[in-house]
């Protein structure tokens, strides 16, 4: 091929001299972009678009019926200076996250350790234990949970067999949040499956070396299993914490959407929902959403920062 013909073919391939990088990309990859179009529409129309819009709305007063009015930082100032419900919902959510996440992870790890002992019918048990994760956050289960923990529910009927008169777990502000924490722990299937995979990936040689050195099961767990599992613990902790902050359905159903009794189940997301769809304060609700995002982001960043001190990666 001569130098002239190479130059000509390069021009054809490259498109018109001086055309933009975008038009050249389009010419070269048009079929690919066409196939991606449905995803682009969904991503920009249903994800990026609403995210950007909500950021804008968080600086406005917007009641869905009239055009948004620019409010500057008013929503954020109100949130941090003059909103007792914001503080209450934050306190409830933090309490929920602080107790439900470690308890759920501990429970999931315990079950994973049991299942990892190589019992018969493991796939069946795995599926059964995973089931609550699929159903747990559903409306049906939340309603069922309300029946179980109601004043005349199954729990109290069971306690009555022993002569114990149980409280109405859901109506009593001392216990209502704990019923939601128990419901959350019951949905341990997802972290349990991940723990199980993590346990399976710990080389058997490590345990054999430890057994030759006379280590007890307890010492093996604390000195080998748990440290080796820290990458999985870290992953599960982040995911479950985010899930905890986002938790909505059970509180909505059990409290009838009010966060009652006495705001004891007023989760952050429930408060946000009420602001948006009960009181039509979309601007304020958007600001609440962005603050939640910031809290989750700060928590995640902090977790990654601390991970170098306690998460052990092999190579």
């Amino acid at each position: 091929m001569t130098a002239q013909s190479i130059s000509a073919s390069a021009r054809i391939k490259g498109g018109a001299v001086g055309s933009s990088i975008w038009s050249r990309a389009w010419e070269n990859h048009a079929p690919g972009y066409l196939f991606l179009l449905p995803w682009f529409i969904g991503f920009f129309g249903l994800t990026i678009g609403p995210i950007i819009t909500s950021l804008y709305l968080s600086f406005t007063h917007f009641d869905l019926l009239t055009a948004p009015r620019w409010a500057g930082l008013d929503n954020y100032i109100r949130m941090f200076t003059n909103d007792r419900n914001f503080v209450a919902s934050m306190r409830v959510t933090m309490f929920f996250v602080i107790f439900s996440v470690p308890l759920k992870l501990a429970f999931a790890l315990g079950v994973a350790l049991l299942l990892n002992r190589g019992m018969r019918g493991l796939p069946l048990y795995r599926a059964l234990f995973y089931l609550p994760s699929l159903l747990g956050a559903s409306v049906a289960i939340a309603i069922l949970w309300r029946q179980i923990f109601a004043g005349d529910g199954l729990v109290n009927q069971f306690l009555a067999l022993f002569g114990i008169v149980g409280p109405s777990w859901i109506s009593n502000p001392n216990y209502s949040l704990w019923t939601l924490i128990v419901l959350s722990i019951w949905q341990f299937g997802s972290p349990m499956i991940i723990f199980l995979a993590g346990l399976r990936s710990i080389p058997q040689d490590m345990y054999e070396a430890a057994s030759l050195e006379g280590a007890s099961k307890w010492r093996v767990f604390w000195k080998i299993t748990l440290p080796m599992l820290t990458p999985v613990v870290f992953f599960n902790a982040i995911i479950q914490t985010i899930e905890g902050f986002k938790s909505f359905t059970p509180a909505f159903i059990i409290s009838g959407g009010t966060g009652s009794p006495i705001n004891s189940t007023l989760f952050y997301t429930l408060y946000l929902y009420n602001e948006a769809f009960s009181f039509f304060r979309m601007g304020y609700a958007s600001a609440l959403a962005w603050v939640l995002l910031a809290i989750v982001a700060v928590f995640t960043a902090f977790s990654f920062f601390t991970s170098k001190f306690w998460v052990h990666y092999d190579d």
Binding site: M206, A209, A210, L212, E213, K223, P227, Y313, D315
Partner: protein, 357 residues
């Protein structure tokens, strides 16, 4: 003081499947014994039975005369070096070395002293604060050995410890382990599928195949006097040549074999008409008559110049492959015909059942 290990009719079964079939073995105190054999022969299983990591299904394991079948692994006075090193990745080298001693509640000062001593023997003192991921393969191997040394065991077990290292490091570590054995004087049992490792390190080699012992002996004993065709083929590198042969006639002077398209007289008593295998190592075949009796005419297929040795891959007149290892750098043309000779004292004859005749 060194320790003896004895296996009496040791059997291992997984459910209905028997994988170790009644093994009898005596390992003398202070001996460096190597279990060698192809993959799946049961050598690692046998080692793990001695370690206590696999229950013994039948027979006895005696350590210093005491039956150990039911004794937990940690109480057998054994330390083991694993193929994967099995170092705890979240612990420093020091913590890895100290783990077993801390478990045994050894006083802190003694732990420090024993770790320092092991680190000095293995020259890993500068590495004590590092994590395993910051070490090279050879350094990890040393730490794994160090973890065994600090426990001051009666018996060291090595399960293919060099198989993850590159060729150069393997040779180096081989020498170091042999030296360690010389210095410590403990009983050591070493598993490998590499017969060169077995030959160079062992006081005693145990050749295993399919869960049985094929032969036990000193390295040169196995090399010079293999009991059967399997051992003859497994020990020695390059492996022994085997030529199918038929006994043409037999008298007081020996038997006349037809092998490789030639007649060879061997000093054995074999019946006329028997089918046998004539075995000769590549390094025992020569290209000059002075070296011995004529073996076969061959055609050269391939020549490898290794510098110190020339490997000639050839085919006999009856189309059987023959490898010849000639000392030095020998010019041999591809396709040329050569006459080969063999030292009468260094060939082997195996019967139809594989046993040496």
């Amino acid at each position: 003081m060194s320790t003896s290990v004895v296996l009496n009719q040791a059997v291992k079964r997984y459910g209905e499947v028997e994988v170790i079939h009644g093994i009898d073995l005596n390992i003398d105190p202070g001996e460096f014994t190597v279990f060698v054999g192809p993959s799946g022969c049961g050598k690692s299983t046998l080692l793990r039975m001695i370690a206590g990591l696999e229950p013994i299904s039948g027979g006895d394991l005696l350590i210093d005369g005491a039956r150990m079948n039911e004794v937990p692994a940690a109480k057998r006075g054994i330390a083991m070096v694993f193929q994967s090193y099995a170092l705890y990745p979240h612990m420093s080298v020091y913590q890895n070395l100290a783990f077993g001693l801390e478990t045994a509640k050894v006083p802190k000062a003694e732990i420090q002293q024993r770790v320092a001593q092991a680190a000095e023997i293995l020259r890993i003192e500068p590495l004590l604060k590092r994590k395993p991921k910051q070490l090279s393969g050879g350094q990890r191997q040393r730490v794994a050995i160090g973890r065994a040394i600090v426990r001051e065991p009666k018996i060291f077990l090595f399960d293919e410890p060099l198989s993850n290292l590159d060729a150069e490091l393997r040779v180096q570590m081989r020498v170091e382990i042999a030296k360690l054995h010389k210095d410590l004087g403990n009983t050591m049992i070493y598993v490998t599928h590499d017969q060169v490792e077995a030959m160079t390190m062992a006081d005693k080699i145990v050749v295993l195949q399919a869960g049985i012992i094929e032969q036990v002996g000193a390295p040169l004993d196995l090399y010079n006097n293999p009991k059967n065709r399997f051992v003859a083929g497994f020990i020695g590198s390059p492996k022994m040549n085997f030529l199918d042969a038929t006994v043409q006639g037999s008298d007081a002077a020996g038997a006349k074999l037809r092998a490789g398209g030639s007649d060879i007289v061997v000093q054995r008593k074999i019946a006329t008409g028997d089918k046998v295998t004539f075995g000769v190592r590549p390094e025992h075949i020569a290209l000059s008559e002075a070296a011995g009796v004529k073996l076969a005419e061959v055609k050269v297929d391939l020549v490898e110049q290794l510098g110190g040795q020339t490997m000639v891959y050839a085919t006999t007149d009856d189309s059987q492959p023959l490898i010849i290892a000639v000392d030095g750098q020998r010019q041999v043309d591809l396709g040329s015909r050569l006459t080969t000779y063999v030292d009468p004292a260094r060939y082997h004859v195996f019967g139809a059942d594989g046993r040496a005749i």
